[in-house]
Symmetry: D2
Subunit: 365 residues, 4 copies
């Protein structure tokens, strides 16, 4: 017990915060001790401050924790802090935490585009955590006893998209063009208020503010190499990889579906069978390292022609596995396929937990 | 009254047949007199034979019509016959009707790929009806007093797709590549049994049997020119136009949404503003000719960034108008946009009615 | 044209206000000239102030109207004012309008329980408008040149419930006990923000704040007699009529379904056939008086055992007709049946329009 | 391992059969060895015969089992047989199995109304299994080495309804009147074809064939005492308990919601607090006996006014716990409340498993 890392959650009463709490209940590596929220909630018992809206009950251990202000002082004992703060508030708070020597794993978008902040999909690019290792060495060399840093979780629809791309690029070389049309679950919009019921019943909303740009930009960071000094990411250029996204909100509770097409740079392109084989064989580093939440099977290649489906397939490997189906040739680019990922697990809070597990294994927290 | 054309409906008890009946109630050009269905229904009063499942009540005039067998004899007085038969039965029946000198407008797929059978989206390629004019001349010249023929209605998702393409090609030249990812309504699957509720609630089905091939093939026929002798359609080749479709069934009752991307052959490509202007200005021939059901505005170009939406926009111009939104540049092809069309109107029975109105105006029935 | 009454709408940018505007477009009795909304919107063109979210397009005539403040001065030319204001604001504004001599038809709950304010379901208790006639006589006798008053529209789920009760009570005498379990559409909750999508998808919310009390109380006012001097309503007592409601929100866009049971006071109770006959024969006064929006058939008695259904039956008589099905004996009370009504038509804005039409016919505006 | 009872499943490819298989995977008491289905499937490997449609993957152990015919010979080694057969086929097959000395736990309705066949909701009336004990004694006394019998699982909506009634009757005496209006999930209708999507999207179906009668009849058996000789159930009469049900199908995947009202015979009726206390304190016999699947908390009394909700509360205690909320006084009967139960767990396959666990503990198999 005593060897567990002490964890805290920022934005604990929100949608992402509640999921962090669920995932940290009885976790083998972490013991959740501090819950931070807005001044309105601070000082209350968590059970009285939160409007709990999960399908699992609020964990007993969390009920009586007194909610703290989101200040580094309150989180001083933490080995790691998970942030589910809204972008509106996350900026200065997360920076203050890192400056105070706290490792922060953030679901907010605020620091994703900083070249020296790793943007990590844990089943895809854990090697970007080398930036953290590098930074810690420097900070320690500079005599800092408690060096802090920020690691960013990617946008939810980006996470699912890049999962199959990583092994394909490793095996078959650069992807020069990529399109994705997303059919995204409403849980991704949070719940205060999120997507109004009258807008999504018997309907589709063919627009999610900022989402297409996030996909197009983040993909080019997550799949990019590190600089030689391992201090930053060297973004892929448009010449190296063109990405185009069209985003839709649909009446699905959890699970983002993406219809993607891609074209390899190298000719001849691989065969459909080679693509399938490559995806099936992919074992992410987190799995190799034995991280607790890592999927048994990173990518599930489904052969039935009407799969993956969100209701049936979103919970593969507790939501940490990504499902890919309908892999076939495309007459415009090279291949088309359908990718399904669990947006609140590998696309949000769950990714944060697995990133933290990687940091533990890599001795970075 | 006496100047109305006499109409019949094949497959009158089915989903498409019921909509033909609704659209023909109080129609200015047609008087519906004959309803044909399977032997199980034949001989019964229509109201007793049908499991009526429309949001409008069954029209009074139809209730007491005695259902006929689907034989040309029973439809001998008809000037035009609308077929809502399933593909399983449509083949020999529709052929027998045409052979017997009856004009048949069919929603089935059976004859869509015959080069000398027009495949018509009435707001897009009414000029393909010249094949009929040509055939009628020949038949009359050969002394046939009652010349029959078949005109096919396109697949529902193809209809919405080609609507904006037609004016764009007319104005800016060939489209060399086209992708569409569809989010299709469940009404398109009929209702016996159609899509099971448990399969579509909180879910997406990323597959519709045969649909992608239909879109890819039919698009290249509908947008193709006629042969010089106007006897057949000269299909576009893959070199002329590459089409790639990914089809999904979603929890929407009516209205197919399509996220499309396209690339023009000619350089430089037009601007976004030119594309919008071109679509706004398009007036389909059926509108110019004053057809009763023709849309006032063929293509509605929507500027709000979260439109078109099926629940809000599917009924523009009684479902005969197509809505296009989010017209913007695409980093992989030239342009992306979202197209919404009413699958049971312009994509099925409604298209049949407007084709028939065109045939009347063109003196072909 | 010049003989039309001039109308205004308060709360014009809201959900109910938008529907008032749609229903008043091209109305035979009214010409809508004034649109009032909050200070935030006042001064803007309506099209710029409103977030229009109806399935019909915003009417052309309304687009360019400059939005007014909700002050009686701005509505001075109006013969009638329709209020779609939220209860939060409606109280003082509606009172000020009535005091200023303006007839106000209100959808808010604020004045529903005033004994001298008629609470009117227009297909049920138009005779309660006698209170208005009485009041106008007094005011005119007192020399008031422009006498104002308020008439309240009932709660949406109450409207459907009382429709079949009225003819039953007229024919078979008092109902001593009544239970209703409602399955209510989300459009009844408005759209800012209304019911969150994540709360209603694959779900039921077995609670609507204040709704059960509204049904239980309003039913006893709407079905009550007037006092002898016609100055107020004499509420039914619990001894005369017990009403018990259980309210649920379900994933339906429009149309409230209610499963009701009732017990007559008089023995023997009528037969199922007598109940059906009574409902079929009922013609509401608005229909007898020829009001434009009055339903052709006030109550549709459906014999198929799986009807009424919201998607199929909510639009009977443009939403002004109420559907009743599954009329059968009940082993606990006397009868059970299912009642469906269109909550935004007969249960809200539409009721307001029909009340106004009654006021015109009765020479009260 | 060797001490586990051998189990078989009839109707293994169907909706209920698939759930039996999931629940029997890795079960502490049972080892599933025989899977029976129709002749069409018999002889195939299960994985090839089944259209698996569960959110969990098909268990590895089941994939390679060769499907058997539904004959007692094929199930000769079984200690217990779970039947998920449709009522159309269940009658003669289940009888043949029982006659052949096999204990059958059936989800079909065929034998539910036999006085000497226990109809068991395992968290409610396990004492009805005394009929089995009694029968086994007789059979063994008569020299039958392998005595068979049938135990029936109740209808799904009945199971949830009777759960709170049992402790209330035990504590406060007879319930003389009971009404329930159900909002039932579509999974209860199976999936071939089940409820069509077009019928349930944005809709309610206010009718489920035979369901109301099942609820009204089964409730009076499940809550009834055994005869003195413990050979049969002595059905409650209408005078002892009046039950009235109104059933609706709604767009919910799993979880039946019921709005119930009830009136006790004894006066004065208990208080709301007493009712809540009674439900909270109830511990079903299966829990006391330590059955593996028995709920930790039999009835969850929820105090938030908008609960229980199917999406949030259906999985309490793996679906074996029933949730009750909104307990309040009723002006027509004594109390109203909302009951939520998981229809495929405590209302179907799950109940069968828990019944079997009770049979093991009671040494009846």
């Amino acid at each position: 017990m005593s060897s567990k890392k002490v964890a805290g959650v920022l934005g604990a009463t929100g949608s992402v915060g509640q999921r962090f709490i669920l995932l940290l209940a009885d976790h083998v590596d972490f013991e959740l001790k501090v819950l931070g929220a807005s001044s309105r909630s601070a000082g209350k018992k968590f059970v009285d401050a939160v409007n709990w809206k999960q399908t699992e009950l609020i964990p007993e251990f969390a009920k009586d924790i007194t909610v703290s202000e989101c200040s580094p002082e309150a989180f001083g004992d933490c080995d790691v802090v998970f942030s589910g703060l809204d972008a509106e508030y996350a900026g200065p708070i997360e920076k203050a935490f890192a400056d105070a020597g706290l490792p922060v794993i953030s679901n907010a978008k605020n620091y994703r585009r900083e070249p020296d902040v790793p943007l990590v999909v844990p089943i895809v690019n854990p090697e970007h955590l080398d930036i953290v290792a590098n930074k810690l060495s420097s900070l320690k060399a500079a005599g800092k006893s408690k060096p802090g840093f920020i690691v960013c979780i990617s946008n939810c629809s980006t996470a699912g998209l890049v999962a199959p791309l990583k092994p394909l690029i490793e095996k078959f070389g650069p992807i020069e063009a990529l399109t994705t049309t997303t059919l995204q679950a409403i849980s991704g919009a949070g719940f205060s208020p999120g997507v109004p019921g009258i807008d999504i019943l018997d309907n589709i909303i063919p627009y999610i503010g900022g989402e297409e740009d996030k996909i197009e930009w983040e993909t080019k960071k997550i799949l990019a190499p590190l600089s030689e000094d391992k201090k930053s990411v060297v973004l892929l250029t448009d010449d190296e990889m063109k990405v185009s996204a069209q985003c839709n909100r649909v009446a699905v509770s959890d699970g983002h579906t993406e219809c993607i097409s891609l074209k390899f740079k190298n000719r001849p392109a691989p065969s459909v069978e080679q693509v399938k084989q490559c995806l099936k064989e992919y074992v992410c580093e987190a799995s190799k390292l034995g991280c607790h939440s890592a999927p048994k099977q990173t990518i599930h290649v489904l052969e039935q022609n009407d799969r993956p489906q969100p209701r049936l397939d979103r919970n593969r490997d507790q939501g940490y596995g990504v499902s890919v189906g309908r892999i076939r040739e495309d007459s415009v680019l090279d291949f088309k396929m359908v990718v399904l990922s669990h947006n609140t697990v590998i696309g949000a809070a769950g990714a944060g937990i697995l990133i933290a597990e990687l940091l533990v294994v890599k001795n970075l927290i």
